[in-house]
Structure formats: structure tokens, C-alpha cells
Amino acid sequence: MTLGKIALFAALTVASPLSTSVSAEPAKPVRSAKQVQEPDIMGVWEMYPDPYAGENANGFLELPVPGDGPKLKEPYAGKWKAARDKRDAMLKAGTPLVDRSTLCLPEGMPMIMGAIFPLQILQTPGQVTVLAEFLTQTRRIHLGKTMPTQDDLNPSYGGYSVGKWEGDTLVVTTRGVREDVEFFEIPHSAQMTITERIRLTGPGLMENQITIDDPKMLAEPYRFTYGYQRNDAYEIMEYICDREDPLSKVNADGTIEMRLDQ
């Protein structure tokens, strides 16, 4: 969140007639004794540093591929580069291609942790839950559970996540992400494993070191880190798309166009 956004939010809160009935400090749910021993990551988190701050505040930023990008094996590397080159060319021409986000399909893993809009994290006995504002996505991290076998995994957008606390770090392993779930169009196989190391790094700050392993498609593990800043004043809203986007239409060539027939 930029300073401008914070200032605007503060001004709106003060101006609201409801503000007298709202506590300045958001109420925090009570945590159990066992949870108190664990780091407190419960709350609302937004991407930090804000990728849309500074010169990107005009809103036209195309999010870059995180880290140094994936080291894919062939033929996947060549195919991915061709897909990205085509995408860039179409953007330059002003005729963007439809993508899964345009269709309001769930982001799934690991894109959901990219926190396009803020994430709310809940810590309850046996589970850490991530609630994303974007598309009202829910992600459950099962603590102390064993990862099912490949055959028992149900391919899904978010996959199946098991977690455990290693000192101050929540280590989360995710498998079973549907092969059609896309992360910057990088292909992945059913063998993909995502490992997250989530820890507090300072007052109100958290990081998520993500490692993607995929022995079939990646030549080496793909590593990058997402950072977050706590903002418990932010109240997550519902975000559910209309069944049919009233503003966009997908053409036969895969490009997306604005509808003007309202």
C-alpha cells in the first residue's frame, strides 16, 4: 500500500459516520496456549514492497516473473519462451491474449501467495488458513499431517498443503496442483512440489521463501521470495466475478476485447 492509499484510507475512516462505533485497533481473535508459542502470523498481509508503488502507481505494470525465472528443461524452456514472446508481442500490439485470470479462474498455487490483493491468515488448532481477497480464494494448510501418495492426491487449484513449525518458520509442502494451473505460464507436471518457508522478519513484516521442484520439467529448483507487510486495518471484501464478464469478450484468435454492447 502506498502512502497515498494509507492516507486516503485514514481519511475515509475518519469521515465515516460509522467510525465512532469501530475500535481503532482491530480486535484479534484469542489464540490457544499452544498457538501462543508459535509465531503470530494471524492477520491481514499485503505485498511488500508494493509492486505498484512509485513510478508504477499509474497502474499499468505487468507483473514480472519473480526471482531469476525458472530454469526449465527442453522442450519446455523453448515452448515457455515462445509463449512469453507471443504474449509480449500481443501486448505491444494492444491486443492482449485471454488468460486464466481474465476468465476469473482461481489463481491456485503458488500465484495466490503473490497477494494481488491482501491475504488474511488465520491460525487455528491444526490448521493455518489463507484467505485471499482476490477471487475469494481459500487455502488450507494442514499442520502435522502426512502428504498423501501421488495416487491419493486430488488434483486441485491450490493442491494439498501440509505444514509444520520448525522454530520460527512455518514450512509448508504442497503437491497435487492441477497441471493446467498457470504461474506466469510456466509449465509444471504432476511431480511438482512447492515448499514454502514462512517467517516473520521484523515488526509487521513477513517473508515467504518459495522453492518449486519439478524433476520432470525444471533443470533446477526455482526459488524466489515474496515479502508482506501487516495491515490489520484492512478489511477483506468479497470478490466474486459475474458469471459472464459484462465488459470482456474472447475472440476466436484468443485475444480479448472490450464489449461495447451494454
Binding site: L12, G59, P96, C104, E133, D242, L247, L260
Partner: protein, 120 residues
């Protein structure tokens, strides 16, 4: 088109919308990001929805469709579902479609109570 004023993105206008969040669920490439157009018209429709709200504006008998941000971001910029109603006179700035069609991405709107709100 004669009454339209077009200019490149002036620093003051860019700063005006710095409070808006940026993310769209699709690329901005269909809009001409180098032009901001000013217009005055009458609201025909205001749809408050996801993935994008929008305004349909009648400008001297010609219909313009203007894409806005999602409900969560609009709310935090001061918009409500009731902010605009059919028949309201509206002054806007927007990024026009690159294909020349009558529409674009709504940047700001001076709403009936006098406030100028960011739509992005």
C-alpha cells in the same frame, strides 16, 4: 470528437490517481496509456460488479463504455454502489481504447456531490 481534449499524461493527473490500486485481472494493453481524454456526459448505466465495474455514458448522443476497477478497490477509493445513477451528469477523464472504439478505462470521475474519485 471535436470537443475532446487529449493530452499526454501530465504529472499532476498521474499523481491524482496514485491512491488507486493498480491490478486488473487482464492486461491494460487495449487502452492507450499515453493519452488521457476529458469528457462530459450523462450516465446511462452504472454497474457495480466484479471483475470490473463500469459506466455507460451518453456524450451528445454517442455511447461510451468506461471500465472501472473491481468493487474492493473502488470502495476504498470512496465509491459506493449508489454513487452514480442513470441521468447523473458526469465529468470524466479516461484512457481511450487503442482500437478507436468509443470506450476506455475510466481514470477519474467528478461525481454529483462534487468529489473527484479515482476509478483506478
Amino acid at each position: 470528437m471535436k470537443a475532446m481534449k487529449t493530452w499526454t499524461c501530465a504529472a499532476v493527473l498521474c499523481a491524482l490517481t496514485a491512491a488507486g490500486s493498480a491490478y486488473a485481472h487482464h492486461s491494460f494493453a487495449m487502452f492507450d496509456q499515453s493519452k488521457i481524454v476529458q469528457e462530459v456526459g450523462v450516465v446511462k448505466e452504472f454497474r457495480w460488479t466484479n471483475p470490473h465495474s463500469f459506466v455507460v455514458l451518453d456524450v451528445s448522443g454517442k455511447k461510451y463504455v468506461l471500465e472501472c476497477n473491481s468493487v474492493n478497490v473502488m470502495s476504498r477509493s470512496g465509491w459506493k454502489a449508489s454513487t452514480l445513477r442513470a441521468g447523473d451528469k458526469l465529468k470524466i477523464t479516461y484512457y481511450p481504447l487503442r482500437n478507436g472504439q468509443p470506450g476506455g478505462m475510466l481514470k477519474t470521475a467528478t461525481v454529483p456531490d462534487g468529489r473527484t474519485l479515482s476509478a483506478w
